[in-house]
Amino acid sequence: MKELMIGNAAVARGLYEAGVEVISSYPGTPSTEITEFAATYDDIYCEWAPNEKVAMEAAFGASLRGVRSACAMKHVGLNVAADPLFTLSYTGVTGGLVVCVADDPGMHSSQNEQDSRHYAIAAKVPMLEPADSAECKEFAKLAFDISEQFDTPCLLRMCTRIAHAQSVVELGERTVPEKKPYEKNPQKFIMAPANAIRRHPFVEERTKKLTEYAETSPVNRVEMGDTRIGIIATGACYQYCKEVFGEGASILKIGMVNPLPVQKIKDFAASVEKLYVVEELDGVIESHCNNIGVKVIGKELFGPLGEFSQKSIAQAFGLPVKETVTADTQIPVRPPVMCSGCPHRGMFYVLSKNKITVLGDIGCYTLGSAAPLTALDSTLCMGASISGLHGFAKAAQGEADHNTVCVIGDSTFMHSGMTGLANIAYNGSKATVIILDNSITGMTGHQQNPTTGYNIKGDPATKINLEALCHSLGINRVRVVDPYNLEETEKAVKEELAADEASVIISRRPCVLLKYVKPRKPVMVDPDKCKSCKRCMKLGCPSIRIKDGKANIDTTLCVGCGVCEQLCPFDAIGHEEQTMAELPPAQCVAQ
């Protein structure tokens, strides 16, 4: 049967057909759907782990026990999971272990543009890179065979344009390899120095064997065309080159990006007049070619930035690009914004109004950095808000204690915020930490996490109590506020900033896009009462706009959160029949 599938769904299908039994992942665009689709197969145990390191270690445990296992993450997730990866390279596997990692050239939804191929080289593990959905499925299966044949974890590298592009896939059957019985093997699996010293030569030997494999494997294939131009390309870049040149160039398509073949590249180089390497991000293949003495043209022509396309490649080769018409009129940008009624908005309004310095983190709430709220001062990586605030406070020697806070989401707090909070308690800064608890991992498309009370399948699960957790991490002052109630929120922020010790404010209200959150009636503006003061516009709610000089609310978008209503000094905004008292309580998080 043939199906149109996005690359990530095809990877999930490949994992399924390969007989994978355990998948543990942490969401991150553009990798998330791998695990979401895998979770639709009842034969696979799938879970969202609190972070990527935990996920990879869970996959390790499953492999140790003798079954095929996998984990998936975005490129920066591999930074978090780098620790287990580097030593997994030494232990090798029992059941096959595949790590799917998704890069984001062009940074459609990421904080950097790192190239995960460097990890494959540094950790000395094989990495495959598919170029369409059919290959996503085939390579996912092949990765298990390589993993088991060479006794190594195998990386599967995705990029946004492969992960999120649909193309046709032929479906196959699932075959589960026989489970290997568990046997204690300390020389292989206890990586203390005495054993690790013996495993290192194995790793070096393995790379040699994998290089031999790369020389002959059909994943690295030559497509001869016009020999005046030779191109080495992988993944999406292969597709762009085929689009531009068709038969007008010869292509060495690399499917295994680490280790790279040597002789195969030399032979290909000898068969063409001029050799180019077309690769997004860093010049990884180019460096390899330089190292083996093959002269190529690469980054000098294409550069290290962003996503390529058939257009950018044609331009780099000096080929004509298509004619087009554009408007001279300036079109205003349309950046993503927090939704109407987003629970984060009330807290950001309070922080912005009081001109508080805010160390931020990564999630929907990063959108609080945009105008008109402009509430954030920094965003580095997941968890850095809390740890960063501690350092900031120490450096300020007391001057930041009463005017600086950090904000972090519930999922991000579980991912890597807890250790930072422990540091605040242990090394004694008087930080005010705000956990924006919207009961979901919002930014990546609404995944469950350990604070939501549900697992990946939507079944009830243990719900971690954030208040108790913060208390036990050594914070005495922990309070919960409803960010829809501006007065209460402002009071809490002021009191906790004034306090002479560290504190946590849990700003709690579920994301409005969750199914169990029922929108209330939209509010309306009484144009006779509105004095055009535009105070409500300071919220940046996409439902509020100015029409004929007065505030006006788009009732198709408004969810009736009532926050703007509290800002209006003239009582011009209101629900027709509901009042604040009718708001469901902040603890209405689904049980």
Binding site: L4, T29, P30, T32, E33, H108, S109, D132, T160, R161, H164, A165, Q166, S167, V168, A236, Q239, Y240, K242, E243, S309, Q310, K311, V321, K322, E323, T324, V325, T326, A327, D328, T329, Q330, I331, P332, V333, R334, P335, P336, V337, M338, C339, C364, L367, A370, A371, P372, M443, T444, G445, M537, G540, P542, I544, R545, I546, T556
Partner: protein, 192 residues
């Protein structure tokens, strides 16, 4: 045949996913090779979103570049203009006339360029503009804007009406089939 390109654009949350799904189905049923590319993530929160559809005998790249689109289908007026450069010479823009203010306009940092489509028309671009929201509501649901626009596309497209209807039946949930057929018909029959 030369690979053809179609661009579907709009504002995050407007339901462009179903449009590309339906289009994909119609093209797969016709036996074309096809690739559909969209970027998930940040775009959901009311940002500008774009989907590329490419079809032909053998499709390599999943993205449509400047001057390569036979159609640009837009769910919102200025989004049509934002991606007009993707249209090839002689291509057609099909757009909903709905206006959704982006944040810079809401906060008064920018003007909504109301006349931009007239400028493009003056430059010789063929634009089919329709109030797809009103037609969708007439069909029974504001959510059917996507199918109304697909109906208008079908009017200018080489694949027969019946085949679109068959694809609708294969794509949408049974209880919404009648509504979507109606929306499709209204979009198909609309003319200025």
């Amino acid at each position: 045949m030369e690979t053809k390109g179609i661009v579907i654009c709009g504002v995050g949350g407007q339901g462009s996913l179903l449009a590309s799904k339906l289009l994909g189905k119609v093209l797969v049923n016709e036996g074309y090779d096809i690739k559909v590319s969209e970027v998930h993530g940040m775009s959901q929160r009311g940002g500008s979103v774009i989907t590329y559809v490419r079809y032909g005998d053998k499709v390599y790249s999943p993205v449509v570049q400047s001057g390569e689109a036979d159609f640009v289908i837009s769910f919102e007026k200025i989004e049509a203009a934002r991606y007009a450069h993707l249209l090839k010479k002689g291509g057609i823009i099909i757009t909903n006339t709905q206006r959704i203010d982006p944040m810079p306009v809401i906060i008064g940092a920018a003007e909504y360029p109301d006349g931009v489509l007239d400028e493009l028309t003056a430059k010789g671009v063929q634009i089919e503009a329709l109030d797809a929201l009103a037609l969708a509501e007439q069909a029974g649901s504001a959510k059917a804007v996507n199918i109304v626009l697909m109906g208008q596309l079908a009017k200018h497209f080489h694949i027969a009406y019946d085949k679109w209807i068959a694809a609708i039946e294969q794509t949408v949930k049974p209880k919404f089939i009648d509504l979507n057929k109606k929306a499709f018909e209204l979009g198909y029959n609309y003319s200025k």
